[in-house]
């Protein structure tokens, strides 16, 4: 007779000392793990709920300005520094981790219309309603020394925006024309205009650094090459675009914030139809900024909310609002891809988490692993109705909700009307237009 009976030595399964970690022998046999799918589903449901429970995006409010914030810019080199300008001509430098103001400069009379920091991080430029461009040192002057700009340029007309070149000492301003300036000179080295009287925003392309895009008040977006004498081309839309932002990773895409409550992502190679129409705001969109990864962007709107859109999705994944936040004028995504800054009418700059339920601070390896696992679970079960319902839900203020419903109704009515018109006209005379095609009026070369 040959016999063997299972007999486990407890020494192989129990830890030796209490200071030791517990032994956890595994066996991955599926028959020992029944209900794999229902258990995983339950875990995913829990993860989704917890994600919503921990979604507390508001981090801090930076108060100190005495008028509405008109523009914010990131420091080119330092993650912790932010420069903001207000409607009373005041410019403030902020330290984000300490949430305090480092320096206050009375830069202009009237609005500060635009700020940009120099690529080396030593100085920054401001433009204002007083028709001046001022260059300021980023380091504070010594005790008792007056705040003086390094350089002041007096222009002919009001400047509405400014952006600095990525590597060279040139910058671009916009106002009645788009002007390219050398830092050493007091007059523009080149100015572009294309039959319009004013521009609201101009931005350098972050990759193809000689390329420029600007939003004009005649509902057009104009592209320029600084090496050429004339503008490249423009696309005219149904309504005016307020600002635009280049995708920092795929720099042939840019997104513009439009007055018709939508944002449009364009491919500069095919300007005739936008790549994506981003809809969700219920009022004019005032500002837009891409995340440094180029996968998402944040938009600020007159409807007192900011929204975060994936770059290729038509609807937002996140909406941030507070009771006290008024019309959001400007918004920026921090360079570490973790925070979003918004400046609004009621004189506050707010710091938000880019990922609402993310835990701040150092994470242990197990915490990281758990977060990663939960993310994957939610992704796996995202289409299940229960999970989707919880993950999609966002609380909205009553008036925004009301406006949203109203607009949906209006849109539906417009669609129905168009359908009826089509039904009763000659076939082919009322063409079917997609949402993308509707908003572009013309492309001019």
């Amino acid at each position: 007779m040959k016999v063997k009976v299972l007999c486990r030595n407890p020494d192989d399964y129990v830890r030796e000392t209490t200071r030791d970690i517990q032994r956890v022998p595994r066996n991955y046999d599926p028959t020992l793990h029944p209900f794999e799918v229902p258990r995983e589903y339950t875990r995913a449901l829990n993860a989704t709920k917890l994600e919503r429970v921990f979604a507390k995006p508001f981090v801090a409010s930076l108060d100190g300005h005495r008028d509405g914030i008109s523009c914010i810019t990131k420091h080119a080199k330092s993650l912790s520094t932010v420069i903001s300008g207000a409607c009373d001509g005041e410019v403030k430098l902020w330290n984000l981790p300490r949430q305090e103001c480092l320096r206050t400069v009375q830069a202009h009379e009237g609005f500060v219309r635009g700020i940009c920091s120099r690529f080396c991080g030593t100085s920054f430029f401001t433009v204002g309603d007083d028709k001046t461009i001022k260059q300021w040192n980023l380091e504070a002057p010594g005790y008792g020394v007056r705040e003086e700009p390094i350089n002041t340029i007096l222009g002919k007309a009001v400047f509405t925006g400014i952006d600095h070149h990525q590597r060279e000492s040139t910058f671009v301003t916009c106002g009645q024309t788009v002007d390219i300036w050398d830092e050493q000179r007091s007059s523009p080295i080149r100015s572009f205009s294309w039959g319009v009287d004013s521009f609201s925003c101009v931005r350098y392309n972050p990759v193809e650094t000689e390329l420029l895009a600007s939003c004009a008040s005649d509902r057009s977006i104009v592209l320029y090459d600084t090496r050429e004498s004339a503008p490249l081309r423009k696309v005219i839309m149904q309504l005016r675009s307020n600002t635009l932002c280049w995708n920092p990773m795929e720099a042939y895409y840019f997104t513009c914030a439009n007055e018709d409550y939508n944002l449009y992502t364009y491919d500069i190679r095919h300007l005739d139809v936008p790549v994506t129409v981003h809809m969700d705001h219920v009022s004019a969109v005032l500002d837009v900024d891409y995340s440094p990864t180029g996968r998402e962007f944040v938009s600020a709107s007159f409807d007192k909310t900011i929204r975060i859109f994936p770059k290729d999705k038509g609807h937002s994944r996140e909406v941030y609002h507070t009771k006290r936040m008024q019309h959001v004028i400007c918004v920026r995504w921090s360079a570490d891809n973790k925070y979003v800054l918004s400046g609004s009418d009621e004189m506050n700059i707010r710091l938000w988490k880019a990922n609402a339920s993310e835990k701040l601070g150092l994470l242990s390896t197990r915490e990281k692993a758990a977060a990663h696992y939960n993310k994957k679970l939610i992704e796996k079960f995202q289409h299940h109705p229960q999970v989707r319902r919880i993950a999609r839900h966002r609380h909205l203020p009553g008036d925004i909700l009301k406006q949203k419903r109203e607009q949906r109704e209006m849109k539906e009515a417009r669609r129905r009307r168009e359908q009826n018109v089509r039904k009763h006209s000659k076939p082919g005379s009322v063409p079917l237009l997609t949402e993308k095609e509707k908003h572009v009026a013309a492309v001019v070369e």
Partner: protein, 588 residues
């Protein structure tokens, strides 16, 4: 060091002295001996080459050149197909024709990931520490003639001590239950004696007499609580024997099953009710009136948490808490069903009936596989993790091997005679032990090969500390599966829901409370002024309403009239022909 120095100096000399063969490597040997390898022919050729290149190699070594060693087993180690099959989950998903690029990429990458996971899990099998037990007789020795005493003598002392008897003749016969980790044993005598024991250390946790008939006993999710079905109500005690709850909603319970992943205690009562108690919140989840009379045969399918009930008319019915009707009803026996059990993969069900037959069913297809005739009939059945079937026939417990499969049952693998009627049978999880409750007490019997040798400590750990148990309890409660998810196929959730448009629309209508696609009925406006009254518009609309249908009707009517016309013409012609009589040919 002194010995080394001259060697270094006279290296060339030593080389000349040692004109031996290079030391043989194990792979060279295997290449020689292993005849089944397909590379065998190549192998010998390589071998010859190896021999010829030995000199060259030594030369090269002398020259200090880097010698490239070839891997004799290139690529990753192969995994046996059977092992891979074990970790296969469902069928491989193929990229549908005409799929978009993004979908294609997603499918391909997820398939690659699952394949990697499957391979890694299959490879991990090599690291499992324990092997299953076995019992082999000598030549012309039947294993069923080997007595328990012999086995207990032959194995080591710890294993030998797993064969023991508890002589409890006063309050018998006994029902029993092992905890999920296999360390704790709960016995309940018909006449009220309830005891829980840490049976490996023979440590009595509590013992009491409830002074009432005890129908069944069951551990709940941990060893801290157990349920006892007494004469009238269901009671829940803690491991010290303290009465925690008396659940009066559950009366006359005869049999109980605990569903560990759902935290549900399913009870079958003498009044024909199947009830589910959620032990995590203490609520009755469902009460189903089976209308099948007294329910004293019950088992659970550990694969999908479906409850199987055996009935006096020979049927077995399958139940879930979500449905008032049985999921499946199958006629298994001529005569009452006496006992039934389901294997851990949820593939096979074994039943025994008053017709003294033992039948094995495939419960995925609901088809009988084979049946055999037991002269005494089986009153209790139990399947082990290793796939051994034990059947209580009279006062003998028989253990069968290889029952689950297509081959019919032959002779038993083991047999053991007890005193008194057998009342309860249960295999201890992760141990080679079969617990038998009978009229004279309790017997623990050694059945080599019954238990799963390797446990998963994150699921069930027999060696867990109290801290680990607490951690596990919290985790388990967090991922408690909702009772709504109990159904015949537990993997249903991961499959694509191809509900038809109609069904989805119906659900939408139910959710919204109205039909979003329905057309509103026209309501004429009560317009006072103007010429064009709403009624006139309505009349005009009615004239042109259903234009398409009218067209169709018009067309069909036209076709029909044409057809009728043709038929008429034909019949007329026929009539003309038919008027001729046989005498007409004589006409001039």
């Amino acid at each position: 060091m002194a010995a080394l120095v001259p060697e270094v100096l006279t290296s060339t000399h030593v080389e000349k002295m040692n004109k031996k063969k290079p030391p043989k490597r194990y792979w060279e040997e295997t290449e020689n001996t292993d005849q089944r390898r397909p590379e065998e022919e190549q192998g010998t050729a390589v071998q010859n080459q190896n021999k010829s290149t030995v000199k060259e190699r030594s030369l090269k070594r002398k020259n200090g050149e880097n010698l490239e060693k070839k891997d004799p087993f290139p690529g990753e180690a192969p995994i046996p197909h059977k092992q891979l099959q074990k970790f296969q989950r469902g069928e491989k998903y193929k990229v549908p024709a005409g799929a978009r690029r993004r979908l294609k990429e997603a499918i391909i990458s997820s398939e690659a990931m699952s394949e990697l996971a499957q391979k890694q899990a299959a490879r991990y099998d090599l690291l499992l520490p324990e092997d299953a037990g076995f019992l082999e007789g000598d030549e012309d020795e039947d294993t069923n003639t080997i007595s328990q005493d012999d086995i207990a003598d032959a194995v080591d002392i710890t294993s030998g001590s797993k064969y023991f008897n508890l002589h409890l003749s006063q309050f018998g016969p006994y029902r029993l239950d092992y905890g999920r980790t296999g360390r704790h044993l709960l016995v309940g005598g018909k006449k009220g004696h309830v005891a829980c024991i840490d049976w490996q250390s023979k440590d009595l946790m509590c013992e009491m007499n409830v002074m009432e008939t005890v129908n069944d006993v069951k551990w709940l999710h941990t060893e801290a609580m157990f349920a006892v079905a007494q004469k009238r109500w269901l009671y829940i005690y803690d491991s010290k024997g303290l009465e925690l709850h008396c659940v009066k909603k559950f009366n006359d319970v005869l049999r109980m099953q605990f569903l560990p992943y759902h935290f549900l205690l399913a009870t079958a009562s003498a009044t024909g009710f199947l009830q589910y108690l959620d032990v995590s919140v203490g609520k009755e989840i469902a009460a189903v009136c089976t209308k099948m009379g007294r329910l004293d045969v019950m088992s659970q399918n550990p694969h999908n948490a479906v409850i199987h009930l055996g009935h006096p008319n020979g049927t077995v019915s399958l139940w879930s808490p979500n449905q008032k009707e049985p999921l499946v009803k199958m006629l298994c026996h001529r005569g009452a069903v006496r006992s039934l059990t389901v294997d851990k993969t949820g593939t096979y069900m074994v039943t025994s009936g008053l017709d003294r037959k033992l039948k094995v069913y495939d419960i995925r297809a609901f088809k009988p596989l084979h049946s055999c005739f037991l002269p005494a009939g089986a009153s209790c059945l139990s399947l082990s993790q290793g796939g051994l079937l034990s059947a209580a026939t009279g006062d003998i417990v028989q253990v069968y091997q290889n029952v689950l499969g297509s081959s019919p049952v032959s002779k038993p693998y083991m047999a053991h005679r007890l005193r008194g009627q057998i009342w309860g049978l249960a295999y201890c999880p992760f141990e080679d032990v079969l617990g038998i409750g009978h009229g004279e007490g309790f017997t623990s019997m050694i059945v080599p090969g019954a238990g799963e040798p390797n446990f998963d400590a994150l699921d069930t750990n027999p060696f867990r500390s109290s801290k680990q148990r607490q951690e596990w309890e919290v985790k388990a409660l967090l991922e408690k599966v909702q009772p709504e998810l109990i159904g015949l196929d537990p993997g249903q959730l991961s499959k694509v829901d191809q509900a038809s448009f109609e069904q989805r629309h119906k659900e939408q209508v139910e959710a919204l409370g109205f039909d979003p696609l329905a057309k509103d009925k026209f309501k004429p406006k009560t317009k006072k002024k103007g010429r064009s009254s709403a009624g006139a518009i309505e009349k005009r609309k009615r004239k042109v309403a259903h234009e398409d249908q009218r067209d169709e009707i018009r067309q069909t009517v036209q076709e029909r009239t044409e057809r009728d016309k043709e038929q008429k013409e034909k019949s007329n012609e026929k009539k003309k022909l038919g008027n001729k009589s046989t005498l007409d040919r004589f006409r001039k």
